[in-house]
């Protein structure tokens, strides 16, 4: 069939003929869920006054909200085995990802690799991963507070004052420490992060998280240099994971998706410590 499917009895992901994630089947629901990498152009201001600040270490400010797709065609390789099924995606020369589902898990793992971010064009770039779905979230989403309570967020709105949003994108970004989610009366989509990231939901059913940035102008808040990290003379490469949960939004028999999310969040953020010991001199029997 034209759709490549990986998964298990709990969750299945379908990838379209262009190599993009296109649908998720879980918890008895099948919904359109896509994922893509994009990047904002970083704003370059003269830093003379607040309204003309550059995007930098202290500030996220896209240049006139200009956003670019990383590609329209993803090369994929699919590996299926008894323990794990994986889709290796290559978006371009500096963005790739592995989407995997372990055979006992009820969520999907997205291991992204971004960098070195090219700057030959003299433009700073702020890379996001964006999940789109047909969930009618009405501008409402939730972001966590240091891995604990979820705070309700509403697009272009603040609870405690009548806000005037000058920056449609940056004005709706919030700090995500571990989780961002949205739902409607039938379905729920949650993304767990493995580190603090900026994130938002700029349109219904859509969640975006900023995974890497490379900027060329200092934002004049004190550090005195642009956020342009390099290693061995090349732009920094960032690697990390997101975990996608999808399912019914109503609590089922008390075992709600949120409970599983909390447990997985703990086990992903505090995984086992790994210690390796050379055993060349011991057979398995001696070791035992």
């Amino acid at each position: 069939s034209s759709v490549t499917v990986i998964g298990n009895s709990h969750i299945k992901l379908g990838f379209d003929t262009n190599g993009f994630l296109s649908e998720v089947k879980a918890d008895g629901l099948t919904r359109l869920v896509s994922q893509e990498f994009l990047f904002y152009e970083g704003a370059v201001g003269n830093n003379a006054e607040f309204l003309n600040r550059s995007s930098g270490a202290y500030i996220f400010r896209p240049n006139e909200n200009k956003i670019h797709f990383s590609t329209d065609q993803v090369e994929i390789e699919v590996y299926k085995g008894d323990l794990v099924q994986e889709v290796h995606q290559k978006f371009n020369d500096w963005i790739s990802q592995v989407v995997r589902i372990y055979n006992k898990d009820s969520f999907a793992e997205f291991e992204w690799l971004v960098g070195p971010i090219p700057i030959e064009d003299g433009i700073g770039k702020e890379v996001i991963t964006r999940f789109n779905s047909d969930i009618e979230s009405n501008g409402i989403f939730h972001t966590d507070s240091n891995g604990r309570e979820m705070i309700e967020r509403k697009l272009n709105h603040r609870d405690t004052w009548s806000v005037k949003i000058n920056e449609e994108v940056a004005g709706n970004y919030y700090p995500i420490t571990t989780k961002i989610d949205l739902e409607d009366e039938t379905a729920r989509l949650a993304i767990l992060t493995d580190r603090a990231q900026g994130g938002s939901s700029l349109k219904d059913g859509s969640l975006e998280l900023m995974v890497h940035r490379r900027l060329l102008k200092d934002d004049a808040f004190g550090v005195g240099e642009a956020l342009n990290e390099t290693e061995f003379g090349e732009g920094l490469i960032a690697r990390g994971k997101h975990h996608l949960f999808f399912g019914k939004s109503t609590d089922r028999e008390g075992v709600s998706l949120k409970g599983i999310e909390r447990l997985v969040q703990l086990e992903k953020l505090l995984p086992t410590w790994k210690f390796f010991s050379n055993m060349e001199d011991y057979t398995a029997e001696e070791w035992q």
Partner: protein, 189 residues
């Protein structure tokens, strides 16, 4: 104590808002990273001593408390770019998993290895199911990633006790044994 205190003092430095938010100069960020890696190495000595003692005490009625075998219990800081000298260079190695949580966990483990045919047994001698998956080319292409690993060996570690550990023995298979293991399935591009 001096090792742990070094880690305490290092984490004291990491409370600074720059260390948390990344609003420091790049050289300062690299200095933070260097201090953290020195502190982890310092604590490596502590964990090695503890784990060696534990592995002695786990044997019943052991007379002498000195560990008969002293194992390395090395940490691989470059697992985040899928690289680990111990699992890449040795055909036999042990992997000890310490669970820092207060409840029993199971975890899918991924070990960087150069080949595809390995045998994994747990502390009861039970052979575990495993699967080799190729490391994505963009990861292999990361410049200055000095690693011979071409695959990740995946297995499911189950019932790791709260604040406890389990150890697994991993052995590369040769010859006919090796052929029995399923190679990674052909890729559907």
């Amino acid at each position: 104590d001096p090792h742990l205190t070094f880690m305490r003092e290092t984490l004291g430095i990491m409370q600074h808002h720059d260390a948390i938010t990344g609003t420091e100069k790049e050289k300062v960020a690299l200095d933070y990273a260097k201090r953290m890696s020195v502190a982890f190495r310092a604590c490596g000595a502590t964990t090695r001593n503890v784990l060696n003692q534990l592995s002695v005490q786990s044997k019943d009625n052991v007379k002498d408390k000195t560990a008969k075998y002293v194992f390395d219990f090395k940490t691989c800081a470059l697992l985040n770019i899928t690289s680990c000298p111990v699992s890449e260079e040795n055909e036999r190695f042990a992997l000890t998993l310490y669970n820092p949580l207060a409840h029993t966990v199971s975890e899918y483990i991924r070990i960087p290895v150069p080949g595809v045919s390995y045998n994994i047994i747990d502390n009861k001698g039970v052979t575990l199911e495993s699967q080799a998956v190729p490391i994505p080319q963009p990861v292999i292409d990361i410049k200055h990633r000095n690693s011979t690993a071409k695959y990740e060996l995946v297995f499911l570690a189950t019932n790791i006790p709260p604040l406890g550990y389990r150890t697994y023995y991993v052995e590369k298979l040769e010859g006919t044994e090796a052929n029995k293991k399923i190679n990674p399935l052909p890729k559907a591009t």
